[in-house]
Symmetry: C2
Subunit: 306 residues, 2 copies
């Protein structure tokens, strides 16, 4: 099984508390780390969770509210001090690139890695792609321009059936093309169908991050059929008015999105600081969508186990 883990570093909302840290998550995609949002304290939480700075090459910022990006300065400065190499790409709206770029050019001028800003906007677009994953941004509905991010694993390689390969004397150099689904042709010209020599690849998993946003049909459309979604659930039913007014969601909203989009699992977070016990939110969400869990700092979720 190839690693596809979600680490929750912060799942609080704008007002800081001692119970939650501001928004930050890290996806571990086969050992490569991708950060989603970077609230203040992200660098410390990475240390606490033993996530290595050297493996972090992409940061995706959903929108330009401080609780989703103020950790960038400290994190990037520390990565520079730690001597990280290669490239660090921050996917961010234009004003964010300008503002943080100017700060970092002053406070963190000497960087052993290349710092790139990939300017995103609110249109649906593939903003990153590699051998393992495709990252698509999609518009959500918040007070300021804001996007969700959909991480979709690419089709994985088929598994070699070692016994069958041995039986057919398949040489080592043929294994890669078997993994890609090709048939094997013996030196005598006999075609052995791939399905006799391999077993199915693991399923490709998808994960969507939807925060901050009010309840939105756009989000439902964007995350249709996704395996996992994280959806903000700032409030409970009793604060529905606040949710609507401030372009946030209730836990029930998040759960209705999950149900309507036909996803398999829902994680809720971005809790308002008024909740001392988030199980209130969990219960309301589970009334609409039972496969809901509460995000919590320090949690690692194996997305393969959907």
């Amino acid at each position: 099984m190839t690693a596809f883990d979600l680490n929750i570093l912060g799942c609080g909302s704008a007002t800081s508390t001692l119970r939650h840290l501001p928004s930050c998550q890290i996806l571990n995609v086969r050992g490569h780390l991708m950060m989603i949002d970077c609230g203040e304290g992200a660098q410390l939480e990475m240390r606490r969770m033993h996530l290595k700075f050297s493996r972090l090459n992409h940061i995706f910022i959903s929108h330009l509210h401080g609780d989703h990006c103020f950790g960038l300065l400290g994190l990037i400065s520390t990565m520079a001090l730690q001597g990280k190499g290669g490239t660090l790409t921050v996917h961010i709206f234009k004003e964010g690139a300008e503002l943080f770029g100017r700060m970092l050019d002053f406070f963190c001028r000497e960087r052993p890695f290349e710092l790139k800003f990939n300017i995103i906007d609110t249109r649906k677009a593939v903003i990153y792609e590699d051998d393992a994953i495709t990252v698509t941004s999609f518009p959500v509905n918040h007070r300021v321009p804001c996007v969700g991010f959909l991480f979709r694993e690419k089709p994985k390689q088929r598994h070699i059936n070692a016994d069958a390969c041995k039986q057919h004397d398949v040489p080592q150099h043929a294994m890669n093309s078997l993994r890609l689904g090709k048939d094997y042709v013996t030196p005598q010209g006999v075609v052995i169908p791939n399905t006799e020599l391999t077993t199915d690849a693991d399923p490709s998993i998808s994960y969507a991050f939807c925060s901050d946003t009010k309840y939105s049909k756009r989000v439902i459309n964007a995350v249709q059929g996704v395996d996992w979604i994280y959806h903000e659930a700032t409030y409970g039913d009793e604060n529905l008015k606040n949710a609507v007014k401030r372009y946030h969601s209730t836990a029930r909203h998040a759960a209705v999105v999950a149900r309507e989009a036909g996803v398999r699992r829902l994680i809720i977070g971005h809790y308002s600081n008024r909740y001392m016990d988030e199980t209130v939110l969990l219960r309301q969400a589970q009334e609409e969508f039972p496969a809901t869990m509460l995000a919590m700092e320090g949690m690692t979720i194996d997305l393969n186990k959907v």
Copy 2:
């Protein structure tokens, strides 16, 4: 006794660790809070130490390295969300005012309080004064422009001797002028000397913050005869070369400064992340200046008890 407490919120150095937070202190001057440096996480540490945002009206930034100021954005944003009123003054170098001003105008535009930047430079100057205290900046010697801050309590009021006042029938309205040291004149024109009606005021205490700096005669001159100093002690003797090269001090340097300046108590901090046990630093400092203590997050020091 009027409150004059020093709260240590962070006493680590540039590279973040789980053992220390970056530079931040809060002086409680008779209930008014004054912050010195504002490393990332300062707002959370204020909550942890039950220090009220509403009482914080002045922030003094020693220099423009990230570990001394990256907490400003989150702290000021939270103060705005909390509805703090009045004025918040940030005493800071010009480039800092420009950079942070621009960030806050974007991320924290709606502020219920007035945000003022008081531009400081490396000259020795009185940068703030009120009824209780005078704050003087003075140059230290670091890689970038950097100042220390000297907080000097103003002379305090004399204590009323209630028994003596009763005996002489001193009316209530005369008490304030007694506290200021004036004699009391009875309705019959008899002068009662102040010293018969009052006892001496509490001593006025002084505290100097000296970080970051290499060992410097300038610092010794600036803190001559001060009661308490906090002096950075990034390294131990075995890293003397690093200290000199990076314009930092060893613990021994800090202690020699304390001794040469004739201060009464020394607090050391700004520990390099290489020290897992700071008592090494404490021992080296105490060889030069026994009245040394180690700063630690969460510590509150009553500066009256010098």
